[in-house]
Symmetry: C2
């Protein structure tokens, strides 16, 4: 018998969740997650009351770790996949703690890059190799030269707040570190060009509370400082991501989501859907005079579409129409204003269609 | 309609979960948690897909924070309650990062104290004020003198692995820091004697993935080092525990558990039940020649009872009897061997009774 929702019959409207994160996850994943909180795999115990050393949870962790590497095409290539705590914010610090000996380069593409730079500065010299701060981060810097002698170059692949996304990564001998919090598992690329990838789970992977770290073994052990255990990738890798009690529920839901993605056909399959969703909304933004896009065309994110309303007198009408259609979470970030439609992996083309229909209807009213 | 468990009718045996942590939580809490994963408060969205900045989650976080202070009797006394990530293991580092300027004292009562000492040593001089390592930590050191001039004295209130518990805390001018991971909210005491309390959620408070930190405002801002943002209590306190995306599900379940405890009558009510459970099992251990307790009588933990079987030939029979009765998670930690029955707040007296009955039955067989 499937899990039943209290008062399910009272929900008359399907919600279209455009929240920037934590965000929509596949319905079947949330259903299975709820079932596991009641009872895991008919073992007579809830997922959240079993020991993390039980064979059930060890298998969950191992499955999640190997699915992550498999989906990224990094199996057998010398990488560790770890499910840690603290979000990308903790990785801003850990990346520097583990890899920064003297000097590192950062590409500054917005709020999250700036936060990463701030934490790294406590541990060494930081070189801002390129920046788009001059235009409120509405584009991705290109054509810059990466200086030699850097311990690493840090990039933010997708900028949730500004709706920009790096389409091409620099070719360089310098090891690449990438914060992929908001677009990991959303598009195909050669992930082996990176030595360190990290991503908070709460966009394309799972609920808030765990962070995927994919780190190349070769890059570790090169700094001279003593690294506290909990900040040391080698310590976590040496314990198969079980140095201390891991965040059981977030890891389990991440495993379910990665399994869902694999069953769907992997990253290439979801990439196709993501491109359709992005094309649908960006075409509307381009053609509809009531709206204007925020990000430079070439750098528009497939995950987060940022746009403004050109006629402010229509704002209230638009907001009401969205509310009535069950659209949730499209207010823009305060640094940009306007609107932001986040269309992560679990968002359906249909939901984007509902939003686009409203945008189009508004034009007729305007 | 209440949440339904898949194949519920197939579960013929109630499990008695003595796991040391993650561990048993109240049934009604797990039920409500599962329902919220399907849909939170009839809002048409799952708990795990809403923004952490939504009014629903902000209210959850605020309720959890205020319930924690209320239950500990610390409301309005200058303390912050924070729900962070990384477990007690991260607190071993953060406590020292925030409070250790030159020299701190540690009471060494076992594995967790040793780990705390190890991390703190990276940041200053550590004075082992007392230790029970000479007898494999089967007792709590007493009668030691606390040297003056320490930045703080660190204690572990309950030692999960060894089954010992500090019954009386030192009276001293030195600020007290206490790792209460495995017995917070289980017994009454004057919590205002501590300047910093921390506890991983996964024993008496919630699922793995969040850590309660209760810190006195006065103790902060006194060290000269620069503290990375994510390790800085002041940063988290300044943002009401929302500096970055918090672990939404673990915080929600912690809130439910704290509410459950409050409804039950608070810490004094649960303390009474905890004492009954402990008395029941320790009486059996004392009277039954087949078993011998590990911890010194005066220092026995009300949370974790550690004991060995005196006649090894009965071990297999005992294990089979436990398995058949649905008893889960009573194997002792490898540093102690034998058995460990963890009896956290959500464990019923009835479940302890089932175990004690088997112990008593075994004596008749022996």
């Amino acid at each position: 018998m499937p899990l039943q929702v209290k008062n399910h019959q009272l929900i008359v409207m399907k919600k279209h969740n455009f929240s920037a994160g934590p965000c929509i996850l596949p319905q079947e994943v949330m259903q299975k997650a709820a079932e596991a909180v009641v009872e895991l795999n008919d073992i007579g115990l809830s997922l959240i009351e079993i020991s993390h050393r039980s064979k059930e949870f060890v298998e969950i962790m191992e499955t999640a770790r190997s699915l992550a590497l498999e989906l990224l095409g990094l199996e057998g290539k010398g990488y560790h996949a770890l499910f840690l705590q603290g979000g990308a914010s903790m990785q801003f610090l850990m990346a520097a703690y583990n890899l920064l000996e003297t000097k590192a380069g950062y590409i500054n593409t917005g709020t999250w890059s700036l936060k990463a730079i701030k934490e790294a500065r406590l541990l060494g010299e930081i070189h801002e190799v390129a920046s788009s701060q001059d235009q409120n981060f509405n584009y991705i810097p290109k054509g810059y030269e990466v200086p030699s002698g850097l311990d690493y170059l840090h990039l933010t692949s997708n900028n949730t707040i500004f709706g920009t996304q790096i389409k091409e990564f620099p070719k360089t001998e310098v090891p690449l570190v990438c914060d992929m919090s908001s677009d990991i598992f959303s598009r195909t690329m050669d992930f082996s060009q990176f030595d360190l990838i990290y991503a908070g789970a709460q966009k394309n992977m799972g609920p808030a509370g765990t962070t995927l770290v994919v780190v190349k073994e070769d890059i570790l052990g090169k700094v001279s400082r003593q690294i506290p255990s909990m900040l040391d990738y080698s310590v976590h890798a040496g314990k198969d991501s079980m140095f201390n009690t891991p965040p059981v529920f977030p890891v389990y839901v991440s495993m379910l989501t990665l399994q869902w993605l694999k069953d769907l056909g992997g990253i290439s399959a979801i990439e196709e859907i993501n491109e359709k969703k992005a094309n649908l909304i960006y075409s509307e933004i381009e053609l509809n005079p009531v709206f204007s896009g925020f990000a430079a065309k070439a750098d528009r994110s497939t995950m987060n579409a940022t746009f403004n309303i050109t006629d402010e007198t229509l704002k209230e009408t638009f907001d009401t129409m969205c509310l009535e259609a069950g659209i949730n979470g499209i207010n823009g970030h305060r640094s940009v204003g306007g609107y932001r439609a986040s269309m992560y992996n679990a968002m359906s083309l249909e939901s984007v269609g509902v939003l686009v229909d409203i945008m189009s209807e508004l034009e007729k009213k305007g």
